[in-house]
Symmetry: C2
Subunit: 237 residues, 2 copies
């Protein structure tokens, strides 16, 4: 991201980053990396209830918005509305979700109490444990190169003979664990194990990995549960 | 509204109604009255936490939207997004405020448990008590004709010698009661007493009316507190 930021900077281009699944799980240095607009939601790594969109906006991005010949006509989703009302007058432009804002405040306070470095280490550790366990089950990561794998979600190829929907329905119904499918080209071929926010914990990871391995076995794939849990354990403890 | 609905109907025009302060406090018969789009919020008469916009859309309004030559480009605030995803596929188009939806569901359940007729009568009674009390204090309603007064909010002219901001700040600081100012032409000249949802209750009304009358006295206006409370009481009990 830092390299992309430098290219954008040198061309006077605004860099907009969807960091919904990153902020609160891995370091995101918007100022250092030249990210002009960074967008996140309340419900992922921050672990607040869903419903709030959160953005940071650089001076350059504000200028670009104000220089537009044809201004954005929106009110509700217009950043300039917020600049005028909130940043300048300290008033909300419309009735906001007060209860969600308090929840977000508390969620941020909890992150700071744990310490951001500890939070990032916890995510990294759970992600590594997940990857090791999944490989030990006999599955293949997607992408295969671990340097490209996220610390907040692990994507895995669905093995031959197992069907995406069946996998996700079975693990939910029998073990109460929800995992995600995929979109676009990889839909039906890759599933995703989220481990962000309060789900990025050793106990939750072990529970989910056990459920995944047993589900695969239930569906006829010879997953190696014991090896998988051992692999996770050796990273986590 | 019914008469306006008939005129709109005969001209093939879509009638859009902002019913944010009405639905849940007074009867609003969208189908009978020909209201094509009725808009409300979770936070007023429904008494759920703020954060949700709620709409009803008539068949005619859907047709108009679909017939547009240039479709609305929006995703987030586009009704057609909701038609396609929610009404047709029963899926949410994006992550929604789950906790607020549960809260809204419970708020609606509470309204139905009380019975809508009872809810409407309660609002009407509290509104009438408020009007009688305010007049007994020596104040003037806005508008003066009571047939135009709302059952969910009472607007009152600020008497000579009392300043809008001083009034609202004093009643908040000393008595813990928040009242609203006004916008536009009547800003600074009219204040508003909300009595909607869980605030539309005899005990809350009496508390607020007492606080209002005493605030006026504190600020030099010779309000008649005893007469005001008597007037409210004779409507409420």
């Amino acid at each position: 991201l830092k390299e992309i930021g430098e290219v954008c900077e040198s061309h006077g281009v605004v860099l907009i980053v969807d960091a919904v699944s990153s902020v609160g799980g891995v370091p995101v240095e918007v100022d250092k990396w030249g990210v002009d607009v960074c967008i996140l939601g309340s419900q992922k790594c921050l672990s607040a209830p869903p419903g709030l969109g959160i953005v940071s906006v650089s001076g350059k991005a504000w200028e670009k918005m104000e220089e537009r010949k044809e201004k954005v006509k929106e009110f509700y989703l217009n950043f300039l509305t917020w600049k005028e009302w909130w940043l300048e007058k300290r008033e909300f432009p419309y009735t906001h979700s007060v209860s969600l804002i308090y929840a977000l405040k508390e969620a941020c306070r909890m992150l700071l109490e744990e310490g951001l470095d500890n939070v990032f280490r916890r995510h990294e550790r759970v992600a590594k444990a997940t990857r090791e366990a999944v490989k030990a089950m006999g599955l293949e990561l997607f992408p295969r190169e671990e340097e490209y794998c996220s610390a907040t979600v692990t994507a895995v190829k669905i093995p031959r003979g197992v069907k995406d929907e069946e996998l996700r329905e079975h693990i939910m119904r029998k073990y109460g664990v929800m995992i995600a499918g995929s979109w676009g080209k990889i839909a039906g071929k890759v599933f995703r194990l989220g481990h962000m926010g309060y789900n990025a914990q050793p106990s939750k990871a072990l529970q989910a990995l056990f459920a995944l391995s047993e589900t695969l076995r239930d569906l006829g794939f010879p997953s190696r549960t014991e090896e998988a849990l051992d692999a996770a354990k050796s990273v986590l403890y």
